[in-house]
Each structure stands twice: as C-alpha cells, then as structure tokens.
Point group: C2
Chain length 453, copies 2
Amino acid sequence: MDIFMDPASVAVIGASRKTGKGSFNVIENMLDFGFKGEIYPVNPLTDEIVGIKTYKDVKDIGKNVDLAIIATPRENVPRITRDCADLGIKGAIVVPQGFADADDEGKALQDQLTQIARDNGIRILGPNTLGIVNAFSGFTSSFMPLAREKVPVGIICQSGIFFVGSAIFTGMMGKGIDIANGCDVDFADALDYFGQDDDTRVIFIHIEGMKQGRRFFEVARSVARKKPVIALKTARTHRGAQAAQSHSGAMVGNHEVFEAAFRQAGIISARDPEEVLDYTKAFLNLPVMKGNRVGLVTLTGAGGIILIDTLQEYGLEMAKLSPRTIKKIKDLSPAWMPIQNPLDIWPALMKHGMEYVYELALTEILKDPAVDAAICIAIAPELPEDFHLDITGVIKKTAASFPEKPVVAWLYGPNQRSVSQGLEKGGYVVSLPTLPRAARTLAALYRRGQFLQ
Amino acid sequence: MDIFMDPASVAVIGASRKTGKGSFNVIENMLDFGFKGEIYPVNPLTDEIVGIKTYKDVKDIGKNVDLAIIATPRENVPRITRDCADLGIKGAIVVPQGFADADDEGKALQDQLTQIARDNGIRILGPNTLGIVNAFSGFTSSFMPLAREKVPVGIICQSGIFFVGSAIFTGMMGKGIDIANGCDVDFADALDYFGQDDDTRVIFIHIEGMKQGRRFFEVARSVARKKPVIALKTARTHRGAQAAQSHSGAMVGNHEVFEAAFRQAGIISARDPEEVLDYTKAFLNLPVMKGNRVGLVTLTGAGGIILIDTLQEYGLEMAKLSPRTIKKIKDLSPAWMPIQNPLDIWPALMKHGMEYVYELALTEILKDPAVDAAICIAIAPELPEDFHLDITGVIKKTAASFPEKPVVAWLYGPNQRSVSQGLEKGGYVVSLPTLPRAARTLAALYRRGQFLQ
C-alpha cells in the first residue's frame, strides 16, 4: 500500500484541462492539498495543465513513475493500465464509474482489470474511486477538494462521500483509502496497512459488500487487539443490498453473519455515520470502560430518567453509589430529598452554587469504586455569562483528574455545538448531541473494554 | 384550565425579594414575559418587590384574585391553599418540591392538597411545577426565564426541563402546562384544554407516570382526530420507573401497555426529545403521508443505501418509480448507469449542472403517482457560493409545488444547521440532522395518515 499512500511521482492520465473552483481537477487538488512529488499529466489535447508539462501518452513520460491515476473513459482503462504495468508503474488508481457498478460491459471491463493486476505485477485501486487521502504525506488523488488535517484516524470506504464527510465535515480523517469496486486492492490490504501505520490510532471501515471475508477477518482480529476498529456495514436490508450491487458492484452477504463476525474479531459495529463519529471521538480521547456501571450528574430529574431507560437498552447499568458518595450530596440537599444515582443536584446547587456542587458531585462519582464511567448533564447556555450556567470548565478539570474513567457529557441548549467544542478541547471529555448517543458511546467503550480483557 | 392559562390577576405567595439575573424571581419573570394583569406579591418581610406593593398575607389583599402562585416552604402550602380557597381564588400553582417526589411527610402533604382541591372548589396545579406558560396571553408562572414565541404548539409535561428546552432551545412552545406531581390538575384536564384551544395545532405530552389513564385516553382519542398528539413516555424500563417515583412521585405503569394505548388512541409515540422536535416540525409544516412509498434524490449512492436500510426498519418502502420518471433521469445520465430509486444524480449533474438536474429529478419524483413522499439528500456547503453546491432554494421551490406530498431533507455538511434553517423557512420542507431521523419522521407522518383514514 505504501506506493499508494506516499508516492514520489504520479502520472495523471486523462487529466482535465478545466481548472478553477468547481472543475474537480485532480492535479489542482493535489497541489492545493500540498503534494510535493513529481506530477506527470497525460492528455493528448494539450501541452500543459496548471503550468505543468503535459504528455500525449503515458509512454511518452520516459521516467520512472510510482503511481498512475487513471481518469479516462472506461473503455480505455484496461489498455492504459496494461501500458502502466509495462512501464514498471507499481500502482494504478482507477477513478471513473461504469464498471461492476453499471452494466454487463462494465462488469467485463472490471474483470479484465482484476486479471491485469494478477498477471502484470501492478496493484489497482478502484475502479469508481476517489482513491487516496494522506494528510501526513500530503498526497491525495481525490477530485473533490478536501481539508488536510493530520488526525490519527484511518478510513477505509466504498464511497467517496465518506472522504467528503470525514475530511470536510467532521475533520476526522488523517488517511483514507476508497476501496470502491475493489477489483484488486481490498479491505484486507487497507486494514493491514492501517494496522501497522504509526500515524493511525483509530480505524473506521465503511463496507457495502466484501468478496474475501475470510482474509479480512483474519487481519481484523489481529489489528483490533492493537487499535479500535469501527465498522459501518450498509446494505443491511434486502433492498439495501440490491441497491449496493449497482453502487459499488458489491456482493453484500448476510447482515447477521457480518455482525457475528464483527463481534468475534473485536470490531465495533456502528449503524450510521453519526455513530461512527461518536465512537471515533470516544476512542481517540477516552479510556475504555472496565465495567458497565455508570454514574450520572444531572440538573434535571427527567433527563436522568430518559438516560436510565437508554442505558439499560444498551446493556449498561446505573451504578449503585457508595454510602459515602450519597452522604456528600445529601449534606447539601434539602432534608426531604432522596439522594441516589442519577445525582439530581438542582436543589443543592440552588442553595450552594452551581460550580461548587457540580465539581463535588462529579468528583465523588468518579472517585466511587462502584462507578466505571460518568455522564454529565449540563447546560449550553445562550444566556449572559453572569448567569453562571456554563460549568463545562468544571467538568473538564474534574474529568482530567480521573484519566482511567471515561466521562461523556450531554449539553442541553442552543449553543450545544460551540460549548461542546470548548468542553472537548484538551481531550478529557466527549460531548454527545443527544442522551441516547451518550449512552451508546459509553456502551462502545464498554464493548472494547470487554474485548481487550 | 382558563383560569390558569389567562388570569387577570395573580397573587404570588412567598415572592422572593432577590431580583436580577440568576435570582429566579417569578414576578420579575412574569413582567419580562409580558404579563399585563394585576400582580399581588405576598411576603411578610417586605413592603414592595420590583416596585409592586407587597402584602404580609394573602388575606390582606382584599380584592378578587383569579390565581395564586405558591412558592413557600412545603409545610405551609396546605394552609395557604385553604386560605386561597376561602378567599374565592379559583386556582393555585404550587411550585416547591418536597411532596410525593420526596419522603413520607411530603406524600402526606400532597394528599392534603388533593383533598383541599376536592373539598374547597379550588383547582391545584403541581406541586413541584414551573406551572404555566402562555405566549399568546403573555402569562407565565415559571421562575426560569423563558422566550415568548406564539407558535401553535401546546406542551404538557411533568418536568420543567421541557419548558426550558422547548421555550429557550427549540422555540417550539406556545403554551405549556407542567403537570409535575399532578395532585389535582392532570393530563386529561390539560389535553382537553389543548384539544379545544384554537391557538394550538400540535400537542406534545411528556409522561413519566399517570394515575387516571382511562379518562386521559378517552380525551386523547377525540383530540387526536382533530390534531396530532405526540407522547414521550419516559421511565420505560424498570430502573427508570424507580427513579421516576422519586422525581415526580408518579405511578409509571407498564411500558408495553402505554405503547398499545397510544397506538389505539392515535397518539404518536416518541422515544427522546429530538424525536419529539422532529415530529413537531413535521406535523406543523407537512401533509401526512397517504401511502408508505418514498422517493429519494441523492448525490451519493452510499447515502441512498443507508437510507434504504433505515426506511425498511421504519416500515416504509422505496417507491418503484414509473418508467416515465426513470427515463427523464436516464436521458441525462451516462448510458451505462442503471437508474432506479434512489435517484443517484451525481453523474447527471456533473454533466448538466446541479440546479437543473436536481429540480428535474425532484419534480419527476413528486409528480410520480408511485411516490407518497420524497427525501432529498443535498449538501450544506462551507464552500464559496460560486461552488454551486447549495441547492436548497431549488428543493424549497419544488416542494412548494407539491403541497400534498411531504418532502424532508438531509443536508450533509458543516453548515447543516444554518442551511437547514434557510431550507425550512416558508414551511415547505423539514430538514433532519441525520438520515435515520429523516426516515423516522416520514414514518410518523405515515402513521398519522393511517390513523386519519
């Protein structure tokens, strides 16, 4: 995979003359992304593209080239790939659609590509792919403009939308490999790469369908012991599977079989992109949960009750707090108030102040040996600062003192997004946009904890 | 309920002298909210509060008063309530905690209140309540400062957090009744009010537990035929039920029994506050779904596949598009491309332009008699305007031409929130933050359509 991830020289065959915003020009994009290697555009109709000398044919380059990006009409791809192999190019990224994702002719063309890879010592990524993103080396073959951020997250996917989503929208991709139709380079190759890659601490895999399941799950079992692997298996339903066949040309397999195999291999399964984002943030920043007992600090009894329901549905338990913890909060609360987990601290803080009571409650919960993780319910106020409702500083500071227990938060309010970003800075707390997502995320940390034991 | 919702004069017993931000002063809050009626503060320790003449005792007021707000220590509440009844006051809102939500003494005090209401011709709301919000009349008893917006949504709840959430965070409350411990005024009273209230088009009910289920469901059956009723039943699990007992002192009942009763009564059940918000927006703005067949316009094959899975899980179906619709898009797409629902228009719009292709595709889908509703997947770009990725104007315009079919959207991107607000303006489209939420919301419109048939 190294030749794909960090090439010194790249031929771009079928390079477009159209440049500027909205033109989706691969070469322009590579330059914007920070690629420092040699670029050899190939286009019979022009002599230069964005100021770079352009060749009529890949055979005219006359120098060693590491990697080819092929962006021609589909019918020319097999011939060009063979030419690349003959020239000693070790890898080809085949961008265009219209192969196993399309009609019978496309399927036949893709079979030719698989055969060429087998016979000619060239590795092929795609077809129907955005290819590679490597924010660390500065290389990308994506025609979509992407942000470059060196985050330790590796993404393997079958659709460019995950590159767009991860690199632009969530900022959660340091390296990406778009397997797409997967005529040669497959999930196992990509996962093996990320398993050994020191820049990558968390791996996310989007799977529509998979041909060589056995090899993949062998690789996964060993990689998952080293770092968290999150999988989003789409095409779960029968209709989804039919649609996947005309999207990536994938054989989709039975959903229950996949889920069982994920569990055995220690892969954390997710059901939608938001779940992937939550788990990625959690695995990057928080320790695993060693047991399944959760302590709650809340400003609202009703919120606590919603969370209790959800925790139970995700296989977690409300911790039974130690008498010492109970007493600490009881001393601050009205005499009539029954104190238990969830710790409803509203009456106490009305009397003794938000910051003091919140810090004490969260500290006692995290100190309690009967608690494996904490959820904080707090407010993301729109209100003026003097309203003293923003206690994210307190949550962050307290969580930092207990690095062995995960702390997640649900901030209620109109500034949820911005206040959450502040709370997450430093990496001590992960803030989830809904209570069920907070519970689900802790459950993933618990599953990983169980797997590692 | 009218005496609670729109009183001409209010006595505030146990009115606080503390004023200013963070003091939670009920009278100050009433004035800020726009209450124009008479206010009679009662506090033995002062002669005026925020410039209003203050009485030592409710008996000293010497004028007719519609409503009392009681905010004294719990042990004084029964005596004061009896005094109010003796003075001819018709309703009392009992704010403090420490009744059935607390210890045995609190339970006994609450039983006294129930008895006083029965014997003395006074109605009691609470205890443990924020009371009433009425943005239309300008009256509130809430000590939390709330925004005033005349939206046609009525909220019945058992926890003030829903007032805070609905009035401040989502802006989705025009009127609110916090039943809380429900010693006298109960769900049926509140629902009956909203059922007859012309200011209210959608009703949301948060229920932890309920004493008089039979009467409530009788009222609900008739109200649900007139307007959508959404219920969020918390304390679903055994542990949640235990916690609810010490929150609102509620008898919680069996979750399955509630779900079945909701279905029978035509109440739409939701599982978390986000679901409530989604359904509220949908019922306010969109028509019901007459069948269960959904058409999809998407820029990403993978997004389409995720949605197919989710639709099926929510009991909806991917529409089988008419040949005419297929042909319209096939004519714009590469020859090799199989065209079906979901309509993946990426290749077509790369060639013919985003706006043209998106409008055509959405129009054809909505025109198709085989389609009952549409989901639009589009981008909420961070990119410069000239990138032509924002097609929310096109979606809105097209949806407006088909008022009998609901259109929901999922906007992918960093500006999801702000672009969604623009898309939703005018009330033709509801934008959901995730694909599963988009599918779930259509399913609620379908359930309501089935109920009304």
